[in-house]
Symmetry: C2
Subunit: 411 residues, 2 copies
Amino acid sequence: MKADLDRLMLDRELDAFVVTGGEEFNTARYYLSNGANITHGSIFKVRDKPPLLVCNRMELEEAAKSGLDVMTDVELGYYDRLKEAESDGLQATVLHWADVFKRLGLEAGRVGLYGTWQVNRTIALYQLLCAELKSYEFVTEAKANLIEAAMLTKDAEEIRRLKSVARRTNEVMEIAWNFIAELCAEGEFLLDEDERRVTIGAVKDLVRRELMARGLEDTNMIFAQGRDAGFPHSRGEAEMPLQIGQAIVFDLFPRELGGGYHHDMTRTWCIGYAPPEVQKAYDTVMEAFDISVEAFGINKPTHLAQEAAQDHFEAAGHRTTRSDPRAMDGYIHTLGHGVGIDIHEAPSISHLNQDDVFQIGNVLTIEPGLYYPERGYGVRIEDLFVVEEGGELVSLTPFRKDLVIPLSGDE
Amino acid sequence: MKADLDRLMLDRELDAFVVTGGEEFNTARYYLSNGANITHGSIFKVRDKPPLLVCNRMELEEAAKSGLDVMTDVELGYYDRLKEAESDGLQATVLHWADVFKRLGLEAGRVGLYGTWQVNRTIALYQLLCAELKSYEFVTEAKANLIEAAMLTKDAEEIRRLKSVARRTNEVMEIAWNFIAELCAEGEFLLDEDERRVTIGAVKDLVRRELMARGLEDTNMIFAQGRDAGFPHSRGEAEMPLQIGQAIVFDLFPRELGGGYHHDMTRTWCIGYAPPEVQKAYDTVMEAFDISVEAFGINKPTHLAQEAAQDHFEAAGHRTTRSDPRAMDGYIHTLGHGVGIDIHEAPSISHLNQDDVFQIGNVLTIEPGLYYPERGYGVRIEDLFVVEEGGELVSLTPFRKDLVIPLSGDE
């Protein structure tokens, strides 16, 4: 968590770091600026000193809401440097950073670089920093970097927000269930009050509206039916009408409006009835889910949970990416991942990750699945969990795990 | 536009380029993949050959919608390379890229790198590429890069989408106007049907809902009243009640749902009446707007339009960032910018930019403003324009430019 930053910097022998970027959503900047609503600005932090947020003059008011020390680029002489650099923004930035480092008492040292930015511009800046600021060493980290390591465990305020987003997301999932349950079947299709076929697009529109009414925003949900459900990341076709007896993978992972903390949950539904093969796959996935939760333990390597799920799937006759790294069907993804400001954070629960262990403060998904596009279905079940202070793994996703949505209109 | 890519590559002596990144919204990937709904995957393009989209196996179905040549990382042996690299993802990526380059017939050459990614990971990848793939030169561009240069002019399909987003955004602006016009004043506040004070948050909620109903999403609109309006990028306080006679800067810049093309427009409103000082500033800004539009000309440097606006503001006694680069009030930003998949694209209309000229296919804003937070107001007027085939500058923002919203409830 954020309180660990100085310690993590010491572990990594970092004297300072800079978080920078452009107008892209910038996870590290959001995290360190406590969600300040800014689209420019860099954060400079020297170890054991408070961070300084350097903002554009136009964003001073929003930057101040970060609670950090804030100065504008104007105050720090950026525009003088820009003139000196004959309007070459990159050159001016490097001179400006040197000014900021000196102001913060950093004359030399190892400096980490974080944030989100255009690839081309990042490399150009890095080249110029190395060429011009020779008393500093600009360092990278191959695996989990400093910011990711801090974000790996959530503090009490982050968990409060994650629980709030979880509660609201579960409400919306229930609204979608109820909406479908009240439809009437005509042949294989579902009709609304006006006797029109209900499409995936109509369900997604409802879900987006209900999320927004709760201060959340969709970040491209998956509502994929039949063959599409067999591709883990097919989003589903808006024009496709809902059909009875088809597997629907509904993966909902909204975040706080305008950027912020996520929830992440998946249910697999069959409207009206489930074909036996889908029911069997569903039961296998539910068993894998329970086995994975059982495999959890504080300080236990996360890959053991993935391998427990893989053991189960393989014993049931399914391919996995462990038994066949090139597998295109069966169980072909990781068991789970951390969730926070990013939808995919550390830890990773993968047989290829030998480094991560379960820790107090982790907020992570468990989401086994089976995918058979050529047989016209896929199944995934996903809850989000928090590892509580006492070391218990607690689900934030209480919504029912029923495969079949019975049609009340048929009763 | 996209059709210019091979020519622009030749100009820049690029033999190939790669667009890469993580799960962040990736403008270059969206652009080149024709909006494919993918969160992983890189695009490889050798000059004068079609691009190849290399996707994650889970996203094959979505990637195929790009219309590009698509291969999965599985097919291309990424997982074999991952094993070879002992699960070091970065090392595996570099080996994998070498495989892809060879498959595309690129044995050596100058390679541009684009996309959006984490800063730290970008630099680590760049270092490894330089160290391991010595027959290639990985190059950066200081100013407008290849992708930005292509995006500088929009093709017919892009302009069709931009016009559609414009039409819908203007509709929503009108709905907001009408909503406010129908309120009743009680003292300095505005009351809704339930006689509750209407807040900025209520207006924003309405706007977000109406955008969504039209397939658009808000990207953090500005609705800033009074002193907040005096800071160009203050978003406005949700809890603040609307007040009569206060300047409100309403800058609305939504995009197609899930990422896509934007509109960008600003109106300044005073509910009920305008104080004389705000009216005077408004008139000055409107004059600057008209002067800026007059300054437009095909192949004319864009900075001349900014300087025409600055001449006008300075003559009227206002500071500008030309007369004082450190100015914190007056006219303190650029005159405009291109708009597309990103809200701020090339060209830039700035006195500090001597490179850009107006071209057919540009889609750009003109948005002069005046900011006096200590006097409790700010004013900005912004239309989005397209430079049509015949060279005319045509506004996509027909919505009325009236300062005062008369209260019909008072009539």
